[in-house]
């Protein structure tokens, strides 16, 4: 089946994978921090942070994409700051697609991580501190291994969400072949041209395989980790 994929289609698949991997990897550390803050923190503005994280889940993706365009676009305040200080341009680049995917997948990631942190028995952390571990060591040697299944699950969910992201991406960075044309936006393109049905169907299969593969892999990893934690 892959032999029959055109170079254009292969490019879109590779780009989608790159966008999804970068989006997931870059948002994971932030996802862990926010999950920690929401699960453990007692600070002013906690419910506001929670709402802010969740909002992409309920907003129409086109709205999220438009807000990104206004803030991270070439003349948006944050877009300009990133371009000047870090040399990162989001507008109409694949980096912008990754940003859109990261934001759309963030609620799912944070939720999985937060739930796993809330399930950690804090008495184990107390035990670690009586054995001489400071807070950072307690986190890295006790908390982190115990929430690893949740982090895996969150990362895979965010990755799968990123592979499927369409609305925010096309609104923010458009549909430029080789730069921002991901798997879903290419499928959309094929559905809009006469005779594109066969290609659209082919890519639909690819999309299905990648997404199913990601979910199956996450289940397998989660099972393995939880077996290590709870059995023998």
């Amino acid at each position: 089946m892959f032999a029959s994929l055109t170079p254009e289609e292969l490019t879109a698949i590779k780009l989608s994978l790159r966008v999804a991997i970068v989006a997931t990897a870059a948002s994971l550390p932030i996802g862990i921090l926010v999950g920690l803050a929401l699960a453990r923190g007692r600070f002013f503005g906690r419910s506001l942070l929670n709402a802010l994280v969740l909002v992409p889940l309920v907003l129409p993706p086109v709205v999220t994409g438009y807000v990104l365009l206004l803030t991270f676009g070439r003349y948006g305040p944050l877009g300009r700051w990133f371009a000047e200080h870090l040399g990162i341009v989001f507008a109409f680049r694949w980096t912008g697609a990754a940003l859109a995917c990261a934001i759309m997948g963030f609620p799912l990631m944070v939720r999985a991580i937060r739930l796993s942190i809330e399930a950690v028995d804090r008495k184990l952390e107390q035990a670690a501190s009586t054995l001489g571990a400071n807070r950072l060591w307690v986190f890295t040697t006790v908390t982190l291994p115990l929430i690893a299944p949740g982090i895996f699950a969150g990362a895979i969910l965010a990755f799968a969400r990123a592979m499927g992201e369409f609305g925010a991406t096309i609104t923010f960075v458009s549909n430029i072949p080789g730069e921002t044309q991901t798997l879903p936006t290419l499928i959309y393109t094929f559905t809009q041209v006469p005779g594109g049905d066969a290609a659209a169907l082919r890519l639909t299969y690819v999309s299905l395989v990648i997404s199913l593969g990601a979910v199956l892999a996450s289940e397998a990893i989660a099972q393995r980790v939880s077996r290590r934690l709870h059995a023998i």
Binding site: D121, S129, T130, L131, N134, I232
Partner: protein, 225 residues
Amino acid sequence: MSIEVFAETTLGDFRLETSFKSDSRLTAIFGPSGSGKTSILNIIAGLLRPERGRVVVDGTVLLDTAAQIFLPTHCRRIGYVFQESRLFPHLSVKGNLLYGRFFTPRPRRYARVDEVVDLLDLGPLLERGTNALSGGERQRVAIGRALLASPRLLLMDEPLSSLDDRRKQEVMPFLERLRDQARVPIVYVSHVSSEIERLSETVVLMSEGKTVAAGRTSEMKWNPR
């Protein structure tokens, strides 16, 4: 070996007031459930911060609210054997045993792995996961884990309470060996008078959050219950 504990604090609708000194190898805190025994251990370990208090172990001040001294738990070197063992589920028995040792600088390590393994008969368990252990084995591993951090004081919170009679008889000799052979004073919490008569040299009696008496176990006229 000497410990000095003074604490006054309000916990919900419960008032804790305690004050005692001991230079025994094993000091028991005795009283019915809810009399504040565990709270005293938590104050000694630094897991609970009293409104007013002072804790001194072998001349080292761990807590003194008057002087605004509060050493955080991980700096206190107080071993703690919890009622429910609290072994780390993601580590093997060996991983659990060596956990605290990792945080103990070499010059302070007086507890030797082979000695502790022998003392508690842990050899056959080392490679196992913690979920494959019986209740008695779990408590022995928890004791070993606390000892191998080379603590200056060992706290034990009803370590036998979750065990049935047979397991209690299995662990009791280890506790006696621990008291006689380990180089660390022990504070032992229990509501079972037979354990205290068998193990302790000094006893602190608690009732409704107050220390009502403290002294040599053999000389005390104490009325269990």
